[in-house]
């Protein structure tokens, strides 16, 4: 229990260090752009593939489970939309990003720590925590919402394409379903969650990477820890934010 509170205290001190005034805004801005590419653009491929197929599976399973003539078929589109926008894209994709982006961040920073590159920054007079982590936080906060919007679109497209090809649902019913009783606030809710998840993934993974000591085995452990802890925190935050934003 003592070590739990110790870690929490250390984490907040780390965050305070990260949010110190940057030495040179221009260099940080360049780093931010680099991180937008590294964190955002480079994750698009896997996110697109997953979204397309999960959207398709949600649609087919919903259609398969509706066998009552009293339930209209546009419910398939409606259910797919609700599942994808409210949970799949913001939460499940964020969990996947915690694996992809989180492990990359932990191992990158951890390797820099054990090879003394972070010490080199500190000795030069550069705040290594801010230099390494701040652009990642802002890069993720800026890019994750775009990724999630693309994921929502591709999820719905996947449902449409595979739903129509397999004959599970007609074009008209699916399109009517995804428009039916649409509340734009659900997108706002999803993107708000995404921003919170982006913050969790980048800060937690960076924290575990930044305080690595030892060798490559410890970097691996830190990377795993970062993914596990950020995934758990995403699930907790998901519950809490849903309660705050929807109820």
């Amino acid at each position: 229990m003592q070590s739990f509170f110790y870690e929490i205290g250390k984490f907040w001190l780390f965050i305070r260090l990260v949010f110190r005034k940057p030495e040179k805004a221009k260099v940080y801005y360049q780093r931010f752009l680099d991180e937008c590419v590294a964190i955002g653009i480079n994750s698009l491929g896997i996110v697109s593939i997953m979204s397309l197929f999960i959207g398709a599976v949600i649609t087919l399973q919903t259609a398969y489970n509706i066998d009552s003539p009293w339930i209209p078929l546009y419910t398939v589109g409606f259910t797919a939309r609700q599942s994808i926008i409210l949970e799949f894209s913001p939460t499940i994709i964020s969990l996947i990003l915690a694996g992809i982006v989180g492990s990359k961040i932990s191992s990158e920073i951890g390797t820099m720590r054990i090879s003394e590159q972070l010490d080199a920054l500190d000795i030069m007079g550069v705040n290594s925590a801010a230099f390494m982590v701040l652009p990642k936080i802002f890069g993720a906060i800026f890019m994750f919402p775009f990724i999630i919007i693309i994921s929502m679109f591709l999820g719905l497209m996947g449902g449409f394409i595979f739903g129509v090809i397999t004959g599970a649902v007609s074009e008209y019913e699916y399109v009517y379903g995804i428009q039916y009783w649409f509340n734009p606030y659900s997108v706002q809710y999803a993107l708000t969650k995404t921003v919170a998840f982006a913050f969790i993934i980048t800060t937690i993974s960076s924290y575990f990477g930044y305080y690595v000591s030892g060798g490559s085995v410890e970097v691996g452990k830190a990377s795993t820890k970062g993914v596990v802890v950020s995934s758990i925190l995403i699930l907790l935050a998901n519950y809490q934010l849903t309660q705050w934003l929807l109820l």
């Binding site: 040179k24 030069m124 007079g125 705040n127």
Partner: protein
């Protein structure tokens, strides 16, 4: 000049450094030697602010580093160049970008000016025309030389070299030693070399401190270290059979 006064450092109950006092002079190669685990790396980390000493002062030009706030410490750090044991070059940056890094962070120079400075530093360490290579494409000795180029790019007043010869063959070691010595004299830098390589000590050491069990056990010049009767120093300096034979021969002569 760097002066350390009564530096002590403990980790829990283990006291690693005990009341170390020493002066490091500008334009001289100041060397800290000692066995592995004697505390020399901890001392160097205390001197550059990577570890805070439990007690004592580190004075840069008479100013106590640990009495300063973060911003003021950063200003002193900008005057420090540090060559790491494994060079600590940034993997994702080319040689040119590595050397340019401190300039990008702390100057308002144009790209042209920065490139001129980078080329000057790389030429100084005999690494010209290697600008676009990545650290992974360099040998150990080349990495050290790029590390030195990066360390001197900001015209530092103080240069720290942590085990500059580790992992290098004897010829490259001598090249690196000579380079450190030349740069020290050329730019009147206060250079602090942390090593346990006796060749370096004999080659370039001008002001030497021997740390033994966390204490400043002995200090002097390279001529003194060969002649001293201090048992611990002799055990360290003449640890190898070769050095022992050499000593016996010299004594015989």
């Amino acid at each position: 000049m760097i002066a350390i006064k009564n530096i002590s450092k403990s980790f829990g109950d283990t006291q690693v450094l005990k009341n170390i006092t020493f002066d490091f002079f500008p334009g001289k190669v100041n060397i800290i030697i000692g066995q592995s685990g004697s505390g020399k790396s901890v001392l160097s980390k205390c001197m550059v602010g990577l570890l805070e000493p439990t007690a004592g002062q580190v004075l840069y030009g008479g100013v106590d580093f640990y009495s300063l706030n973060n911003r003021e410490r950063m200003n002193i750090r900008k005057e420090i160049g540090f060559l790491f044991q494994y060079s600590a070059l940034f993997d994702s940056l080319t040689v040119e970008e590595n050397v340019m890094f401190p300039l990008r962070m702390f100057t308002d120079w144009s790209l042209e000016q920065m490139k001129d400075r980078v080329n000057f530093c790389l030429k100084r360490v005999n690494m010209e025309n290697k600008n676009h290579l990545y650290p992974a494409e360099l040998s150990g000795g080349m990495k050290k030389r790029v590390g030195i180029a990066r360390a001197i790019s900001m015209n530092p007043k103080y240069l720290f070299c942590d085990e500059p010869n580790s992992g290098l063959d004897p010829q490259t070691s001598i090249l690196i030693d000579n380079l450190i010595e030349e740069i020290t004299h050329e730019f009147n830098i206060t250079t602090v070399v942390i090593t346990h390589d006796m060749n370096s000590v004999i080659e370039i050491g001008q002001n030497i401190m021997f740390i033994y069990k966390g204490e400043n056990w002995w200090q002097g010049g390279k001529e003194d270290i060969i002649k001293t009767n201090n048992k611990e120093i002799n055990d360290f300096v003449y640890a190898s059979k070769f050095m022992q034979t050499l000593k016996d021969k010299l004594a015989g002569n």
